[in-house]
Amino acid sequence: MTPIQILFLVTALAAVLSAIMVVASPRLVHAALWLIVTLGAVAVLFVLLDAAFLAMVQVAIYIGAIAILIIFTAMLTRRVMGEAGPQANRSWWLAAFIGVLLFGALLALLVQVPAWWQATPPTIGVTADFLLEDLGASLVDLDRYVVPFEVASVLLLAALIGAIVLARPAERSGGEGAK
């Protein structure tokens, strides 16, 4: 057992356990906090996968924006909830069943490819900097991924506007109402 492997196992265990806490925690804010832990563990995994930039993006975006949003929303919708009550809905058993089923299926699939159970990742012949530059270039290269990049920007814009419009307060002078 190499140290990398140990690191991986620890990180993986943390991710799984915190994920389980996310979905099992009765109190919403706790679940949000556990989510942050999971996201952090995932960021570590990204580093292990030689995608350091993406690890930073994960921390900045997911933890720094999305998780905060979630916490905000949990706060904003807190009054009615009363912080208690069962958090699982009526057919949680079905959900659990599906989850287990899916995991079993994926596991069965994985077993079928012995090549993936070998240990070694291939070597990357280039530096991390080069990878980063390449990533950036590829996102604006007309021959490569500029279109998805631009579309993603538009998507973000739409989401931005939509979110603002949706979350606007209901009553307005002049009776525009909720749009």
Partner: protein, 718 residues
């Protein structure tokens, strides 16, 4: 103007008058009278011109005035329409135009032209008390149409056109008998006349059809003046065994005459036809229409007597004809003796005299029959018009006597001779002319036309050796003279038996003048036909009539040698009958019964009731026919069977429809539709539970299904 052209024109003026009166002139009596009488006068003038020219032609029989045009294209040939004036037609034309004109003029007075309309007079009923006839113009329209029909018949050259004229006259007879349609008796009489003559007409039509089929033509000239055609018909056998085709056709055509000229057994309509106004009786039922029947058999004399020659025994057809004629003559005269209505006596007298003519044709006496036709037309028309004048006088007397307050208490029939009497002083002109006519009818010697013609028939019968016919006709002549004297005695002689008769007065000029004219003919017409062989008077005047008329036939019949017996018989019966009648009836007192009734007892009743023939026919023909029509056809067949079927079909259809509706439409079709709807709704209600609105559930189910599909496609069917 060629004669043929005039002949074409002859029938048309009265037709024109009819049309104009019907559509326009009926608003004015004066106009109607003018048109009708004027038109008849034109035809009269044309008729006289044609007649004058006709008598001037040598051998008119061989070269008659004839003209024809193609009319009906039929198969390979064309039926022609045309006019023909040979001697027979010329003589007939002569008396027809004279009698018709006289009657037209008489009608003006008879229907009280110029008098105001009575307050209580209704159209369809005879006027009372001297008011003008309400349907005056209608009468003149009808008699104009009738004149057209008769003239058409006389001038026609083929059997079809003759039949057309025949039927037009039948129609007018119907219309005019029922002229006073308000009376039930008139309505019944008009139908009776039409139906009875129709029976004869049906047989006649069969004869026409058979003739056409056998010869291919209906033209008189082609059939009757062609010995080959006649022989051909005589030789062909017909469907009746023992009778040749000529004989059968002859009998069928004779059947038309039996109907139209009221011979036994179709005589029953003529006495009832007296319901019509008197001019109608005179014109139609004495002078012209019934004469048309005789004209027909005279015209078809060659066909009826085919194969017979004078002196030979009679053929079957001729025997039938002679038998019917002679029987009718005697039969009708016996009935006439017991009748009290002045017009009925004359009606039966007409039947009897027509029987004379028919019998004459039957024994082959062509000239005698034609002669009697001519003279009879004149004196019978005269007698009828005279009787009309008497009736008018009686009606005026009736009105006058009731106005004066000493009328009779019971209702007095102005036509009943037992109510008359003593009218010779009150109606002298009528009396004189009536006597002339009556003597002519009775056959008073020398000075009356009837004597000459009747004597000729008797001579022919005797001369041919037809003693049975001779004796029958002689007996009929005796009775004729008797009832004529009875009639004159009851009507004019003695003292008035009722107040109406007392107050009667002479008729107006329009009525009397025609009487006088006809009386002149009744006296003089006979002198045109005095036989050569007659003692004393024989050679004084040429027997123009016989020479002229005989030319109609292809072979001229020889005149008989004169024998005393028929002349003696004729004188005896005539004078004897007249004398006996006058003796009994010249002074019948008021309220007395008919002496004959006492003398004959129950026989008189039989005669008075006309041998109960009307009742017999009613029982045998009329009632079964009515039963057939009303019960069998209407009640049973039409209502019960046909309507029953219809109602049953309707009910069945309704039931079927209701059943289909119930059993199929509602139960199956509707139910099916409803079931589909209900099933869908139930299914929907069951299935929609799935849509719970919970997104997570949707997702879960969706994932499950997607997983199932995926595993299926990856594992089961990779």
């Amino acid at each position: 103007m060629s004669t043929e052209f005039l002949i074409w024109l002859l029938p048309l003026p009265p037709l024109l008058a009819f049309g104009l009166i019907v559509v326009w002139a009926n608003r004015s009596h004066r106009l109607s009278t003018g048109l009708a009488v004027g038109a008849m006068a034109v035809s009269w003038a044309l008729g006289l011109v044609v007649f004058a020219r006709a008598v001037g032609v040598e051998h008119l029989g061989e070269e008659p005035f004839a003209s024809s045009i193609p009319w009906l294209p039929l198969g390979t040939g064309i039926l022609r329409l045309g006019v023909l004036i040979d001697p027979l037609a010329a003589v007939t034309l002569f008396f027809v135009v004279w009698t018709c004109l006289a009657i037209f003029v008489y009608s003006i007075g008879y229907h009280n032209f110029g008098r105001p309309r009575g307050a209580h007079d209704r159209p369809g009923l005879p006027p009372h008390g001297g008011g003008v006839e309400p349907l005056y113009s209608r009468f003149f329209a009808f008699i104009s149409l009738f004149a057209f029909g008769m003239l058409t018949l006389v001038v026609s050259d083929n059997l079809l056109l003759l039949f057309i004229g025949w039927e037009i006259m039948g129609l007018c007879s119907y219309l005019l008998i029922g002229f006073w349609f308000g009376k039930e008796s008139a309505r019944q009489a008009m139908v009776k006349a039409f139906l009875t003559t129709r029976i004869g007409d049906v047989f006649m039509l069969l004869g026409i059809a058979a003739l056409y089929k056998a010869t291919g033509t209906l033209s008189f000239h082609d059939i009757l003046r062609s010995p080959d055609t006649l022989d051909g018909l005589a030789r062909t056998a017909s469907v009746v065994p023992g009778l040749s085709l000529a004989g059968l056709i002859g009998l069928l055509i004779f059947a038309g005459t039996v109907g139209k000229s009221a011979q036994f057994p179709l005589h029953v309509w003529l006495p009832d036809a007296m319901e019509g106004p008197t001019p109608v009786s005179a014109m139609i039922h004495a002078a012209t229409m019934v004469s048309a029947g005789i004209y027909l058999i005279l015209r078809f004399f060659p066909l009826l007597t085919v194969g017979w020659h004078p002196g030979e025994p009679l053929t079957t057809t001729m025997v039938v004809v002679a038998g019917v004629g002679a029987f009718s003559a005697l039969f009708a005269s016996t009935i006439a003796v017991a009748q009290n209505d002045i017009k009925r006596v004359l009606a039966y007298s007409t039947i009897s005299q027509l029987g004379y003519m028919v019998a004459a044709v039957g024994i082959g006496a062509f000239v005698a029959a034609a002669f009697h036709l001519l003279t009879h037309a004149f004196f019978k028309a005269l007698l009828f018009l005279g009787s009309g004048s008497v009736i008018h006088g009686m009606e005026h007397g009736l009105a006058a006597s009731s106005a004066h307050g000493h009328g009779d208490h019971d209702h007095v029939d102005p036509q009943d001779m037992l109510n008359m009497g003593g009218l010779r002083r009150r109606m002298p002109w009528t009396f004189a002319t009536f006597v002339v006519g009556g003597l002519a009818l009775a056959g008073f010697p020398i000075v009356t036309a009837g004597f000459w013609s009747k004597d000729e028939i008797l001579s022919a019968a005797f001369g041919e050796g037809q003693l049975a016919v001779f004796l029958v006709l002689a007996a009929a002549a005796l009775l004729t003279a008797f009832y004529t004297a009875r009639q004159i005695g009851l009507t004019f002689l003695g003292q008035p038996r009722t107040a109406a008769a007392e107050h009667a007065h002479e008729s107006r000029g329009e009525m009397v003048i025609p009487l006088v004219v006809l009386a002149g003919f009744a006296i003089a017409a006979g002198w045109a036909g005095i036989p050569h062989s007659f003692p004393v008077l024989g050679g004084l005047l040429p027997n123009w009539f016989e020479e002229f008329i005989a030319g109609t036939l292809t072979g001229h019949p020889a005149a008989h040698a004169f024998t005393m017996a028929p002349l003696a018989t004729s004188l005896v019966v005539s004078l004897g009958g007249l004398g006996l009648g006058l003796l009994v009836y010249r002074r019948l007192p008021r309220g007395a019964a008919d002496p004959l009734a006492r003398a004959l007892g129950p026989v008189h009743r039989l005669l008075h009731r006309k041998y109960y023939f009307d009742e017999l026919y009613d029982r045998i023909f009329v009632r079964p026919a009515r039963w057939f029509g009303e019960t069998f056809v209407y009640a049973w067949t039409d209502r019960a069977v046909i309507d029953g079927i219809l109602h049953a079909v309707a009910r069945g259809s309704l039931r079927l429809g209701a059943f289909l509706r119930r059993a199929i439409d509602v139960a199956v079709v509707n139910a099916f539709g409803d079931r589909v709807g209900d099933t869908t709704r139930a299914a929907g209600r069951t299935v929609r539970v799935v849509q719970s609105g919970r997104v997570q559930a949707y997702l879960a189910v969706g994932l499950l299904f997607a997983g199932a599909l995926l595993s299926y496609f990856l594992l089961v069917r990779p």
